[in-house]
C-alpha cells in the first residue's frame, strides 16, 4: 500500500474506527446468523435421522392392529426390497400366534420376527431374553424361548405342544409339534416364543395358507418417508373409518414428525431469508460509509488529478482507503468464526456499495480547483 495513502488513513482514525465498527458489526451479525442457521439445520437433520416413525398395519377402519390374518401377499410386500417396501423399513415386527391346547400351562405359541415385537423381549423398555442359538429370530429351526421362570426346568430339553391356527379353514385341525428349548424371555407370560419363519412353516401346515396376526415397522430413512408411502399405498389402503370391506390399511404415525419438521423448516427458511438482507445491509453500509468517507474530499481528489493521477488510479486509491477497515473487520470476524466465504461475500457487497458511492466524487474534473478560484 502507498505510504501516503496509509498516512492519510491513519490520520483520519474516526473514519477508520466507524468503518471497522459498522462493517465488523454487520459481519458479526452475518456470522452469528449463519451459525444459528447451521445449528437449526443440524437440529433438523438430527430430528430427521433420529425420530422414529412407527407404522402399523391395521384393518381398514384403523381400529384393530392384532389378529389381522394378513396373507403372504402383504407380508411379502413388507419384506420385498425390490417390489415392496422392504428397503424402506427397519425393525419389522411380524407375529403369528397359535393356540396351545395340550394343557401344558402355556396358552399360546407366538412366532416373532424381532425382539422388539414383544414387550417381554424388548430391551429398550425393560424386557430381556436369552438364546443359546445365534440369530434366533431369523432361524427356521423348531426352537423356542420359554418364560425365564420355566427355563431351569426345561433348559436343553424339548417340549411338545398341541397347536391350532385360528385362521385355518379347518377349525378342527390340531397338530403336535416339538420344540427344543434354547432360551428364555423375561416375565412370566403364559406363552412360548418361536422364530417367525418357523411359525410360518407351521401355519402353512395347519392352515394351508400361512397368515400373520400383526405387522409393524419403523421407517428406515425419514427423508424417504413420502417415497415409501407412495409405494406402500399401492398395496395397503389409507385408514378410512367409513369403510367396512375386508382389506388392510397402513397407519403411519408421522403427524408429530411432520409438524416438527414443518415448523423447523419454516424457521430455517425465515433465517435464510435474513441472510440476503445482511448482504443488502452490507451494500448499504458500504454506500453510506463511502459517502461519509469521501464527503469533503472532492477537492483533494481534484488535486490528485491535477498532479497527474489518472482517474482509475484515483478510484483504486480511494477504494483502498475506504475498504481497508471493512476488509480488516471482515478478515478478523471471518477468522474468529472460521467462515471465510460468507465474510468474503459480505465484503463483496460492501465493496459494491462503496464503489457506487465513490464513483461520483472520484469523477471530479481536475479543473474544479481552478474554477473554484475563478
Amino acid at each position: 500500500m502507498d505510504g501516503m495513502l496509509l498516512k492519510r488513513m491513519l490520520r483520519r482514525p474516526w473514519m477508520l474506527l466507524v468503518s471497522f465498527a459498522v462493517s465488523g458489526t454487520l459481519c458479526l451479525l452475518l456470522c452469528l446468523l449463519i451459525g444459528y442457521r447451521d445449528r437449526q439445520q443440524a437440529h433438523l437433520d438430527e430430528i430427521r435421522n433420529s425420530y422414529e416413525i412407527k407404522a402399523v398395519v391395521t384393518d381398514l377402519r384403523g381400529t384393530k392392529s392384532d389378529n389381522l390374518g394378513l396373507s403372504r401377499r402383504y407380508t411379502d410386500f413388507l419384506l420385498d426390497t425390490e417390489n415392496g417396501i422392504g428397503a424402506y423399513v427397519r425393525d419389522l415386527c411380524l407375529t403369528k400366534t397359535f393356540m396351545e391346547l395340550s394343557g401344558s400351562g402355556y396358552a399360546a405359541v407366538v412366532g416373532v420376527s424381532d425382539e422388539r415385537c414383544m414387550d417381554a423381549t424388548d430391551r429398550r423398555i425393560g424386557g430381556d431374553w436369552f438364546s443359546e442359538v445365534k440369530d434366533f429370530y431369523n432361524s427356521e429351526e423348531m426352537i423356542c424361548l420359554v418364560p425365564s421362570s420355566d427355563y431351569s426346568r426345561h433348559a436343553g430339553q424339548e417340549i411338545t405342544l398341541l397347536l391350532q391356527d385360528g385362521y385355518a379353514m379347518d377349525k378342527d385341525r390340531i397338530e403336535t409339534y416339538t420344540f427344543r428349548v434354547v432360551g428364555w424371555f423375561k416375565g412370566g407370560a403364559h406363552a412360548v416364543y418361536i422364530p417367525y419363519r418357523t411359525s410360518q412353516t407351521i401355519a402353512a401346515h395347519l392352515a394351508e395358507a400361512p397368515s400373520t396376526d400383526k405387522a409393524s415397522f419403523t421407517v428406515k430413512d425419514n427423508a424417504k418417508l413420502d417415497e415409501m408411502l407412495e409405494i406402500a399405498y399401492k398395496r395397503f389402503r389409507k385408514v378410512d373409518p367409513s369403510r367396512t370391506d375386508y382389506d388392510f390399511a397402513l397407519t403411519v404415525y408421522d403427524k408429530q414428525y411432520r409438524a416438527t419438521i414443518a415448523s423447523m423448516e419454516q424457521n430455517l427458511r425465515r433465517t435464510s431469508l435474513l441472510l440476503p438482507l445482511i448482504g443488502l445491509l452490507g451494500l448499504g453500509a458500504g454506500f453510506l460509509l463511502g459517502l461519509l468517507g469521501t464527503r469533503g474530499e472532492v477537492r483533494i481528489y481534484a488535486l490528485m488529478r491535477t498532479l497527474g493521477m489518472n482517474g482509475f488510479g484515483l478510484f483504486c486509491s480511494v477504494m483502498i482507503e475506504q475498504l481497508f477497515a471493512p476488509l480488516l473487520a471482515a478478515a478478523v470476524i471471518g477468522f474468529i468464526f472460521k467462515r471465510p466465504l460468507p465474510t468474503l461475500i459480505f465484503f463483496g457487497c460492501h465493496l459494491v456499495g462503496c464503489a457506487l458511492a465513490v464513483l461520483r466524487p472520484v469523477s471530479v474534473s481536475p479543473t474544479r480547483l481552478l474554477r473554484e478560484q475563478e
Partner: protein
C-alpha cells in the same frame, strides 16, 4: 522545436444560464527560461487559458502543442505529472499530509520514492525557504506564504519544466507575495523552466519577461 504553443485556441463551456465563450482564437508561444504574465480582468478568460495550457481541459478547436505534440494526442494525466505543474491561489496542499509529505506525494506519483525522494524534497523545500523545523508541520500549522512555498516546492520536486501559477500571490501579504514571485522568476531564469503566471496585479506582471493581456477571451500581446 517550440516548448509550448497555443495554436488558435477556442474554448467555450455552458454554465447554468448560457454558453460562455471563454477563449477565442488565442495563439501564442512560450519558451523555457522565461516568465510570462497573463493579465486581465475577472472573467477575461485567463484562468481558462491556463487550464488549457495545463492540459486540464481540451480546446473546442485549435491545439495546445507541447514540444511539438498536441496535448490532445498525449496522455494528459502523464503530461501534468511529468511536465506541467499548477500552483493555485489557495495553495491546495493535502491537509492530512505534512509539508514534506506534500512534496513527496508528487514524486511518489512519478515513482520516485525512499531516500532519493526525501533528499530531493528537503532540497526543494529549503530552496523555497522552508526550514527543516517546518517539514513535519501540517498545512494548517503553516502561514499562507509558507503554504504557497510548499506548493511551489511540490511543483519543483516533480521536476516539471512548465510551471503554471494562477494568482499565486492572491492570498498573500506584500512581503510573502514578493518572495513567491521572486522564487517563480528565479525558476524561470536560473533553472531554465517556463513559468506562466496568471495575475491581475500589474506590479507582478511587470516583473515578467512577457505580458499577455486577455480581454473578453481574446489575447492582446504587450511586449
Amino acid at each position: 522545436m517550440e516548448f509550448l504553443k497555443a495554436d488558435n485556441l477556442t474554448f467555450s463551456y455552458r454554465n447554468k444560464y448560457q454558453t460562455v465563450h471563454a477563449v477565442k482564437q488565442v495563439s501564442c508561444s512560450f519558451e523555457r527560461g522565461k516568465a510570462y504574465a497573463i493579465v486581465g480582468k475577472s472573467g477575461s478568460g485567463k484562468t481558462t487559458l491556463l487550464s488549457l495550457l495545463a492540459g486540464l481541459e481540451l480546446p473546442n478547436s485549435g491545439a495546445v502543442v507541447f514540444q511539438d505534440v498536441p496535448t490532445g494526442k498525449m496522455n494528459r494525466d502523464r503530461y501534468r505529472r511529468d511536465h506541467a505543474a499548477v500552483i493555485y491561489q489557495n495553495y491546495n496542499l493535502f491537509p492530512l499530509l505534512t509539508a514534506e509529505e506534500n512534496v513527496l506525494y508528487s514524486m511518489n506519483l512519478k515513482g520516485i520514492r525512499g531516500k532519493t525522494a526525501r533528499l530531493r524534497a528537503k532540497k526543494e523545500l529549503e530552496a523555497v525557504g522552508i526550514g527543516p523545523e517546518q517539514f513535519k508541520r501540517f498545512p494548517t500549522q503553516l502561514s499562507g506564504g509558507e503554504q504557497q512555498r510548499v506548493a511551489i516546492a511540490r511543483a519543483l520536486a516533480a521536476g516539471n519544466e512548465l510551471i503554471l501559477a494562477d494568482e499565486p500571490t492572491g492570498n498573500l501579504d506584500i512581503t510573502n507575495g514578493d518572495q513567491v514571485v521572486s522564487i517563480l522568476l528565479r525558476l524561470a531564469h536560473e533553472e531554465n523552466r517556463c513559468v506562466i503566471i496568471v495575475t491581475h496585479d500589474l506590479e507582478i506582471a511587470a516583473q515578467a519577461d512577457e505580458i499577455l493581456m486577455m480581454k473578453d477571451g481574446v489575447l492582446e500581446r504587450d511586449a
